[in-house]
């Protein structure tokens, strides 16, 4: 198999789970094997379990709060996913998200710009910082792990220096409202924003040449290069997109908290690292690149949010929550493995 064929095959893999192996089977059977189906099943199982153990789990307040938290976690997952597809990492997602949020806050409060221009400015800062990561990575030839580890500290440090760790509180009501509004008493507008972004990302990776090229770069850079794809440019675009998505997550938190604050993602933005990886990895995005699952990332991040909320509601001792969360995630993965084995044994797939 030459490089071009290999790249094409692996790129095809990006459009959906296990497309090649199961192409001759019934669509319903193929669905049973997907990560997405497994995640949906797990979400349903745990939802029933938590509801039986604590009916408050499905109270309007709980559902609203869970959806709002999940919206941000999913967006953070997306910002990592679009870099993972290139076979890279972006450890500075939290740092970029905070910088974008602080930039938007500064534009609104200090420069008095209209809220929509400020949001665009914030996203622009996020995109620019992401692109900067990408440029340094392709120019230096170093792994994105090293570059983004360094830029995480640099971006955060410069932001703290410029803002003196101060917050921006004069946020326009139009920005704050989505963080507090409820549709039908349950649905957060932030969740709807996340769904819209998920839809756009799906279109990007499934139906546009740029999206396909991004995936091809992750599948095999050499083959992609031979196919005429500008690998370095695509890598920079992926990092820029990651920065924009991190900026969206940061602005969602501004909406949630009503202020742009330096500590919204913890010291150096490290608080975002776990949700950034959990969603994509659980959702089936390959760490080696070349495959993205937008729906999987969405479901994976939602599952983690739901497990955390459920464990908190069950009043699991605080310090055990992390342990139980880890165990439940392990159980979740094993259950998914069992499901696949069962289907294979029964020759259902």
């Amino acid at each position: 198999m030459n490089n071009t064929t290999k790249a094409a095959d692996r790129t095809a893999d990006a459009f959906g789970p296990d497309v090649q192996e199961t192409s001759s089977q019934h669509p319903a059977m193929r669905l049973l094997l997907t990560n997405e189906f497994g995640l949906i099943a797990l979400i349903l199982v745990f939802a029933v379990l938590f509801t039986l153990l604590n009916p408050g789990f499905v109270s309007k307040f709980s559902l609203f709060a869970m959806g709002r938290t999940a919206a941000v976690n999913i967006m953070i997952g997306f910002s990592m996913m679009v870099v993972i597809i290139t076979g890279g990492l972006n450890l500075s997602v939290g740092s970029i998200g905070v910088c974008a949020a602080m930039a938007a806050g500064w534009l609104m409060q200090s420069l008095g710009l209209p809220w929509y221009l400020s949001l665009v400015g914030g996203l622009g800062v996020g995109g620019a910082l992401g692109a900067l990561n990408g440029i340094v990575i392709v120019r230096s030839g170093l792994h994105s792990f090293i570059i983004t580890l360094a830029s995480m500290s640099i971006f955060f440090g410069v932001m703290i220096f410029l803002t003196h760790a101060g917050s921006f509180r004069e946020i326009a009501p139009e920005v704050v409202a989505p963080g507090r509004m409820k549709f039908f008493g349950v649905i957060s507008p932030l969740l709807l924003i996340t769904f819209v972004v998920a839809g756009l990302l799906s279109v990007l990776f499934r139906f546009t040449a740029t999206g396909r090229q991004m995936l091809a770069v992750g599948a095999s850079p050499q083959a992609a290069e031979l196919s005429g794809i500008r690998v370095q440019r695509m890598t920079v675009w992926c990092h820029a997109l990651s920065g924009v998505l991190a900026g969206v997550a940061g602005l969602m938190l501004v909406s949630r908290t009503g202020a742009a604050i330096p500590s919204m993602a913890g010291q150096l933005g490290q608080d975002w690292l776990l949700p950034a990886f959990l969603g994509p990895v659980l959702g089936g995005t390959l760490l080696t690149g070349g495959r993205a699952s937008v729906l999987g990332t969405l479901l994976g991040a939602f599952l983690v949010t739901m497990l955390t909320t459920g464990l908190l509601l069950l009043q699991i001792a605080a310090f055990w929550v992390q342990t139980y969360l880890g165990l439940l995630l392990l159980v979740a993965v094993l259950m998914d493995l069992l499901r696949r084995s069962y289907l294979a044994r029964k020759k259902l797939v």
Binding site: F57, S62, A165, R256, T257, A259, D271, A318, V321
Partner: protein, 339 residues
């Protein structure tokens, strides 16, 4: 008819008396920003308050990590679990305002404890240490021990720069030093966690111990690490004043490696906060003209007290803290509440 009359009379007497009684349905949640030894006293304080004042419960709920989102998620889950009064150390003085307001919207009294929310917020008040004053008084104690402090060189080890209290502490230490003619030759911040504190304090003392006459620490972990460092190098020439009541610091005071420590009052914050939460749920209101203090974040501040504990108080520092609590509680309702 007679029965109805009696019930009506009783209700009228209660209403007219203006008193508010303990409500066993009160479920208080005491929620720090994350795990930290400073807040450990809240657990006992809540349990004691529940027992002494007849509350339904007053429980200490710790987010497993210092993450604003983690604290927010925990607070949201506590509402679902039926908690109806909240004593919160804000994960961020600005960032926690939104969730505090949402909690208040559910009808629960919300108070900031040990650290304040930035005004405006729906928190009824903030009760904590006047951090600037504590740092100032601690530095004064240090400089007094250093023969007035004139010409002396001191180092200041403190907490995270994203905590607005840190800058207040730095300013207060500098002010006390300037007043005494001393010089703050080094401020090391962002070290209220074991790893950075060990690394930076040990490295600094290894290189500059001979240049320093005194050390003031204004955060828990740096106080512990600096106490241990002075013990390790066996240096009793350097005079140190710490903060809080970690056993390491207290033992170092007894052994002569540390001059003293500035006690704060986390127990009193939890105990009195739980008492106030129940009163507020039982119909009391915060007095419009209550004599609140003002700090950098709020104009509804109540000082939970601070006191210096030296060698003479090292064995009975708990009594010192209880004394502060007792004094504050004795006049709390009359001073701050209208029942």
């Amino acid at each position: 008819m007679l029965r109805k009359l009696m019930i009506s009379s009783c209700l009228a007497v209660v209403a007219l008396s203006g008193n508010a009684y303990a409500d066993s349905s009160t479920k208080v949640a005491l929620v720090p920003g994350g795990p930290h030894p400073y807040f450990a006293a809240w657990e006992q304080a809540g349990a004691d308050a529940a027992k002494d004042f007849g509350l339904g419960s007053a429980e200490y709920k710790v987010p497993q990590k210092w993450e604003l989102s983690m604290q927010n998620q925990m607070l949201e889950s506590l509402v679902t679990q039926g908690y109806n009064a909240f004593l919160i150390f804000p994960g961020d003085p600005v960032g926690t305002v939104a969730i505090a307001n949402e909690l208040a919207d559910t009808g629960a009294p919300v108070m900031a404890l040990a650290g304040c929310l930035k005004d405006p917020s729906d928190a009824l008040f903030c009760m904590g240490t006047d951090t600037g004053n504590s740092a100032y008084l601690g530095t004064k104690e240090l400089l007094t021990k250093l023969a007035g402090g004139k010409g002396k060189k001191i180092a200041h080890f403190t907490g995270f720069l994203v905590d607005p209290n840190t800058q207040l502490r730095i300013d207060a230490v500098n002010k006390a030093a300037v007043e005494a003619g001393a010089e703050v030759i080094q401020v090391i911040a962002d070290i209220d966690a074991p790893e950075p504190a060990e690394e930076k304090i040990n490295a600094y003392l290894a290189a500059h111990a001979k240049d320093v006459d005194g050390i003031i620490t204004t955060a828990w972990v740096p106080a512990v690490v600096a106490s241990n460092a002075l013990r390790k190098i066996g240096d009793k020439r350097i005079v140190m004043v710490g903060i809080d009541h970690d056993k390491v610091v207290i033992q170092a005071i007894k052994d002569g490696f540390v001059h003293g420590t500035m006690l704060q009052n986390p127990y009193g914050q939890g105990y009195i906060g739980s008492f106030a939460a129940d009163k507020l749920r039982s119909g009391c209101k915060v007095k419009a003209d209550a004599p609140f203090k003002t700090n950098a974040l709020t104009n509804k501040f109540i000082d939970s007290g601070t006191v210096f504990a030296g060698i003479n108080e090292a064995d009975n520092y708990v009594a010192s803290m209880q004394k502060i609590t007792k004094t504050l509680l004795a006049s709390f309702e009359k001073t701050y509440l209208s029942c």
